[in-house]
Amino acid sequence: MATDTKSTPDFDASKVAEIHQHLHSHLPSESALRVKALETLLVDKGLVNPKTIDAWIEAYTEEIGPKRGAMVVAKAWCDPEYKARLMRDAPAAIDELGFLGKATAHLKVVENTDEVHNLVVCTLCSCYPFSILGIAPPWYKAAAYRSRAVRDPRGVLSEFGIDLDVDIEVHVWDSTAELRYLVLPQRPAGTEDMSEEELAGLVSRNSMIGTDRDLGENIEDDG
């Protein structure tokens, strides 16, 4: 084997390697290529419409998010009759606001009180009422949350800054594809003069999953 020949400089070899690497740097990741392959095949078979996929992505990255859930909560705080309907038949009450989606077709609302704190999880995968809360946050999908929310709910809550009194019961709700949950957090004290819209601004996404509790902390002090 020639190891040192000036007539075949390794310039070419390194250039080739560089070009090769350059090309690869524009190559999408393995997962991205597999998704592209899957989508192409499904579109070719008429099983999905690419416009539907684009519209879904646009809706869930730009439009549909926890604001919808917050509006439901604020309305329930302001209107006792609406709250009664929400507790009795959540999908119908959510539909009144025009937010009903397939993921909320079977939804139960669980209410926080002075004595009870509710926490929602999906121990199997990541079932979540995404048509009113948007896409689930990274921690909701993590194995650590899915296992620990049931085993050690107070420990999980503590990580999120909630140190519950021992006399407050924690109810953990395990979501499934057939039944998902939304927590109705408590209305903070001192918000009697706030409009429904202002109240919705206090409602955090996490409070509707149960990893936030005291929404009074979100009131801006104009004082």
């Binding site: 090309l23 190559l27 990741s29 597999r34 392959a37 989508e39 099983l47 996929i53 879904w56 869930y60």
Partner: protein, 121 residues
Amino acid sequence: MDDPKSRLLKPLASVDGQPAFDEPWQAEVLAIADTLVQNGLFSASAWSDALGEALKQSQSSGASDNQETYYQCVLNALEGLVASHSDIDQQAMTGKRKDWEQAYLSTPHGQPVNLKTEQQA
């Protein structure tokens, strides 16, 4: 009072506020899965079972507990369900994936990447 074990598990709250998708393919794969449930190719329960199984397998294989892993499980589950609920098999997926790779490699940088149709297949 923090025991070392619970400190190890701390990243839960530390990822709060991070985006739900790190890369476009993650949104695409979830969009496809949800659309196929809506279109009735498979049921919401079948989807939840398949994703749950993929997550369980990944966890027992020691994969990192992060969003990348989660969406890879979404992709694995989806490929499996598509293979069992349509006439698109794993071989077709692998073949099409290679076609896309070739299309990227043979398209000059900066130009739109298009898959060559039929005659290549």
